[in-house]
């Protein structure tokens, strides 16, 4: 029997369609069909300046907008050969770690809801709301926050932000304990996730899977540790790894990652408090906008402001690829520049796109009910897959 699952199925987390060939209740073949959200972002980027593409990236992985911002900014900075000032880097680390917590909260809530545990959903969205209000504070948007710019940040962090982050970071470990109380030893949860949707380390690597799924399969690979960016090598944290590569291990990896993210965010807040005020943006006005105060008092700053807003900056001819460890895995942006302010080519290496390919390996030969668990444990975002 051939069963069509989606694209309007609540547990496909968006508009994913899976064509399942069944033998009784056993899945013989599973073929994901994607593209329902394709909006041609890579094509559009060729008609925009680098800065204009930043808000576009929030719509890719809309659960982790700031990670996408960061990946684009790092790729453009690598192309230009510049680096953001230390204060901006610490703020970037702080906010992307909070983003990771909120993205994992949405994943945990919806994944548990799919399997039948309803309560967790409300708890997770309560915490996510706090991160969204922090986004609101820094850039005025709750969902599609775009706060990072090439060379630093859009503006300095507002007053009272660190106190608010501090409250959140202090509360968060207790909340993670709450989620674990509800799930980690829950017999129904164990029955639905342990040994379900397994992926061996060998298959995971061959399929290019990254992020918590790769680590759940036992491969210790985290770009924050192995290829550090934004000064991640200066933070003290651990990389949780699973052993069996099943849905339960992926759950444990992500839950532990939330704890580790809290640790990193805690260190980042301390660092910002020790640093005191400083540059939040590079003072290289060929590439970065001068601050508003300077524009009002200096003619050169005004000219630079005008040039960058009207034309954009002129990168050298070349190409660059930069990655970040996004909540879903390796998120990378690849720019080819022809020397004009618009990229000749922008390619996004979307982690969900690659991770979804492993669905067939996870579910073939297993029960149809486990497809739901597999999709949930993959943590896909269709906005990023289809771009």
């Amino acid at each position: 029997m051939t069963l069509n699952m989606g694209p309007q199925h609540p547990s496909t987390h968006g508009v994913l369609r899976v064509v399942l060939e069944l033998d009784g209740e056993t899945v013989v073949r599973a073929k994901p069909i994607i593209g329902y959200l394709h909006t041609g972002m890579e094509k559009q980027a060729e008609y925009k300046t680098y800065t204009q593409s930043i808000p576009q990236t929030d719509r890719m992985d809309y659960l982790a907008p700031l990670s996408n911002n960061l990946a684009l900014c790092l790729a453009a900075e690598k192309l230009l050969g510049i680096e953001a000032p230390p204060r901006a880097q610490v703020v970037r680390v702080l906010l992307t770690e909070l983003t990771r917590i909120s993205a994992h909260c949405v994943w945990l809530g919806t994944h548990a809801l799919d399997i039948g545990a309803m309560t967790v959903f409300f708890y997770c969205f309560r915490e996510r709301e706090k991160v969204l209000s922090i986004y609101d504070m820094v850039c005025g948007a709750r969902m599609t926050a775009s706060y990072f710019r090439v060379g630093g940040l859009a503006s300095d962090i507002p007053e009272g932000l660190l106190e608010r982050c501090r409250t959140f970071v202090d509360e968060m470990p207790a909340h993670v304990d709450e989620y674990e109380t509800l799930l980690s030893k829950n017999p129904i949860w164990l029955a639905r996730t342990q040994g379900v949707a397994p992926l061996s380390a060998r298959d995971a690597v061959a399929l290019g899977v990254t992020g918590p799924i790769l680590r759940g399969s036992g491969v210790r690979w985290d770009l924050r540790k192995t290829q550090p960016y934004c000064g991640y090598d200066g933070y003290d944290f651990e990389v949780p790894v699973g052993a069996n590569g099943d849905a339960y291990d992926r759950y444990m990896v992500r839950v532990n990652e939330m704890r580790q993210s809290t640790r990193i965010a805690d260190q980042a807040i301390r660092r910002l408090q020790e640093m005191g005020p400083g540059d939040y943006r590079l003072r290289d006005y060929k590439y970065v906008l001068p601050s508003k105060e300077e524009v009002k008092t200096s003619m050169e700053a005004l000219i630079h402001h005008f040039k960058i807003v009207a034309h954009g900056f002129f990168p050298p001819v070349g190409e660059a690829y930069a990655t970040v460890e996004a909540p879903k895995g390796e998120l990378g942006f690849y720019f080819v520049s022809d020397g004009t302010p618009r990229p000749w080519r922008m390619k996004v290496r979307a982690p969900s796109f690659v991770n979804l390919q492993s669905l067939a390996t996870m579910v073939e030969g297993r029960l149809v009910a486990d497809v739901i668990t597999a999709i949930g444990s993959l943590d896909i975002v269709l906005g990023e897959i289809d771009r």
């Binding site: 060998r202 061959a206 290019g208 036992g218 192995t226 002129f314 990168p315 050298p316 290496r349 690659v354």
Partner: protein, 210 residues
């Protein structure tokens, strides 16, 4: 998916045995040197440029599969993962297209970039599914966007665009267009947009460096 991962492809194991010393980080220069030693008869060319930030090497399409198999299986290099594949259109330059392969060695912590030049008349490249199963969707995406065919691919169909789509949207001669949306609920007849409106011609701007 057409081919299960555990089938034909056999990448080397990635997780080091516990207690084993971490091997030193591999440099891309060393990878290129190894390639030149092993494939002395193949023209391997390093991409030079003002701002080519990653070590990039051009490989002829006919040698792509053997070069990649070597990169994957060689114990020193151990490129177990293919990070992504993408296309670039360099219109009007000839050969017009390039296909980019970003490889990742987890054990040696190294990235390496391979490129293949693809002519406009015969946009064909051999598939890498047999080496890394992950190439499947990446190659379909490149086919979908640029019309570059990957020979030997079991399912060379569009992935993101609808099956019935005509044209290759990311080619440079395919302009960014739009369709006028006609709202008909408060007008008696449907308004048809003027033909010149259906294609947005990007404004030609000549840039001068400051």
């Amino acid at each position: 998916m057409a081919e299960p991962a555990s089938g034909s492809a056999a990448p080397t194991a990635t997780a080091p045995p516990p207690g084993a010393p971490e091997p030193a980080r591999l440099s891309p220069e060393r990878v290129e040197q190894r390639l030149r030693e092993r494939f002395s008869e193949v023209p391997i060319e390093r991409q030079m440029g003002e701002a080519v930030r990653d070590h990039t090497v051009y490989v002829p399409a006919e040698h792509l599969v053997e070069v990649c198999t070597f990169l994957r299986d060689d114990h020193e290099l151990d490129f177990a993962m293919l990070s992504w594949v993408g296309g670039i259109d360099y219109l009007p330059r000839q050969p017009r297209f390039e296909v980019v392969y970003h490889l990742l060695s987890l054990r040696r912590n190294c990235r390496f970039v391979l490129k293949v030049r693809v002519p406009e008349e015969a946009p064909r490249v051999p598939t890498l599914i047999g080496v890394w199963p992950t190439a499947n969707w990446h190659e379909r995406e490149t086919y979908d966007f640029y019309g570059i065919t990957f020979e030997g691919h079991p399912d060379m169909t569009r992935i993101l665009l609808p099956e019935a789509w005509v044209g290759w949207p990311l080619r440079k001669d395919s302009p960014l267009g739009y369709q006028e949306v006609s709202f008909t609920h408060n007008t008696p007849t449907r308004t048809v947009p003027a033909p010149d409106l259906t294609r947005l011609k990007p404004k030609k701007v000549r840039y001068r460096a400051h």
